[in-house]
Subunit: 339 residues, 2 copies
């Protein structure tokens, strides 16, 4: 492709533009940077020269000079989880509005993080947002490289780390309290995969709250998807000999699967015959067929916090860690009888 | 952050590694490239030297030398559309398996492409995948820069372009044919936003097929989401004075909204009282509450084709355009009475 070759190997550089415009190279660089300050008349001269020469800024050349790539790595597990598309769309638009680009890494399972970190380092990202399980030594690798990282819906064990979370434990405790007040005594829990940080956090909180009331729930481990919610409902009904008051699902997709199974296989009416609750507040939770009672994560406030905390730390690399914990919002659907 | 500074400004380069290992710089570069060929003993020497020096490949430095960034721009409209998360997850995993990274751009509306192209160029991406409406002059900008681009579910008007599409027109014709054979005569169409390429393609195909049978459908323009599907169902019932045999929705999310409205507001049973069909084959289409009759896009085969076509064109920049059109698969749910 001759055009590409010409554009990249012999194309005009920022120095050519500077020379034609009669300014310094750094002025050209500032003029093409979103936040660079240049006097309006200088900027106009530079833009005229750039246009005349057909100059196009090169992020690689700039990255080598400024040590800033304007790239943010976003590492997200399981994009097909109903909750993540909204998170990713919000993050991408917020980062983009601030002049940053998203380098996306998606994992088939939470535990695949190791593989992608080696792919992240060569791009000299300015920062990272991680919505997947990071071990302490992985957090430490970011810290060692001086790359600010914000954990989304998880916290580090020991390594200093900044994080933004929805308060899973408080949300589950609230659901248990309201279900107990509604008179439920026989419980089942449908949990997510063991390698999910939030899944385990929600499971432990719900189980502990039930145990504190002297209740040992029936238990099924699902995969955070619709099909395993339906499977789980069957399994719990079997375990309980058909007598079950309430099912707590650690995400909405499984709760929706459980509701469909309860209705279509057992002919149950909700919440008269049984209560089912979820967690997340995904779009389908509010659909008329489900009207799920669940805890909605405040995704907009959480993603705004992530981006703000990350940009602060890119500007001030020494900034101390901070953990922000957002309370979830109770969505009162019609899938549960609460007290 | 002293550590970062040290690593980037005074850190070891590929030349330092080459010198210690007693090989050429290009051998080091090949050894760290996924597809570079280096003799095993040479590779071992290089890796030992790199480890000893703490060398980390730098994608910017490599990009300036090799003219390859290994970055693929993925420009996708409206990530919250139920169909896109699966597409994005498949693309990201396939590109990653081939040693490429995804630079993600998400648009609030299909028509925002212009804004992001200026953000794409500085990163010297090796190629691009675009699932948003590109005008001919935008396609030409990729061609002028020698950047291979594959259009997903849309084709260019005039500018030479490679594309992978699901055959929307054939899918809609098939649905109309089967609904007619099922005895339906009074039709409504719920269409997507006007700036959606596939939406308009599906609308035109369905309308033409109906017109050819002498039928003029009632019409509502939605926004490709659940809420506008429900609104649309109300509006069509009003237009039709309550007598409607079948509703064709140009995507599944709107069809699901229409089904919930038909059931909960009108007390309809599907498919006895009315038939509703969608397009896409998203996950919720198969949920027990909907069991939607729809056309499923073969997302795996389509994304595999996109990645293969793109990598071919990166390796052989002169390759002529190719258009691949995949037939959709009829998902026989229970939301429509077909002949």
């Amino acid at each position: 492709m001759p055009k590409k070759k010409q554009a990249e190997t012999a194309g005009p550089t920022s120095y050519d533009v500077a020379s034609l415009a009669g300014v310094s190279q750094s002025a050209v660089s500032r003029a093409f940077s979103k936040f660079g300050s240049v006097a309006p008349t200088t900027r106009a001269k530079i833009m005229r020269a750039a246009k005349q020469l057909g100059y196009q800024p090169n992020a690689f050349a700039r990255g080598l000079i400024t040590k800033k790539s304007n790239l943010i790595a976003v590492i997200i597990s399981n994009l097909t989880n109903l909750n993540y598309p909204e998170v990713l769309a919000e993050l991408t638009q917020r980062l983009s509005a601030e002049g940053n680009r998203v380098l996306l890494f998606s994992l088939a399972a939470e535990s695949d993080v190791d593989d992608v970190l080696e792919q992240v380092w060569p791009y000299r990202v300015d920062g990272a947002i991680v919505a997947a399980r990071l071990h302490d030594d992985q957090i430490q690798q970011f810290n060692d490289r001086g790359i600010p990282v914000i954990l989304y819906n998880r916290v580090g064990d020991v390594a200093p780390s900044a994080s933004v979370c929805c308060d899973s434990a408080a949300g589950e405790r609230e659901l248990v309290r309201l279900l107990m007040a509604g008179g439920h005594r026989t419980f089942g829990i449908i949990a997510g995969p063991e390698d999910s940080y939030v899944g385990e956090e929600r499971l432990e909180a719900a189980r502990r709250a039930l145990n504190q009331s002297g209740i040992e729930p029936f238990f099924f481990r699902g995969r955070f998807d619709y099909a395993s919610g339906a499977e789980g409902f069957h399994a719990l009904m079997d375990q309980a000999g058909g007598r079950l008051d309430a099912v707590i699902c650690t995400n909405d997709a499984m709760a929706i699967g459980a509701i469909d199974c309860a209705k279509s296989t057992y002919g149950f009416r909700l919440p008269d015959d049984i209560s089912i609750v979820g967690f997340d507040g995904v779009g389908p939770a509010t659909w008329a067929s489900y009207q799920l009672t669940t805890i909605r994560q405040p995704v907009r406030r959480m993603t705004a916090a992530v981006v703000a905390m990350l940009l602060e730390r890119i500007a001030n690399p020494g900034m101390a860690p901070e953990q922000r914990l957002f309370g979830g919002e109770l969505l009162l659907g019609r899938s549960a009888r609460l007290g």
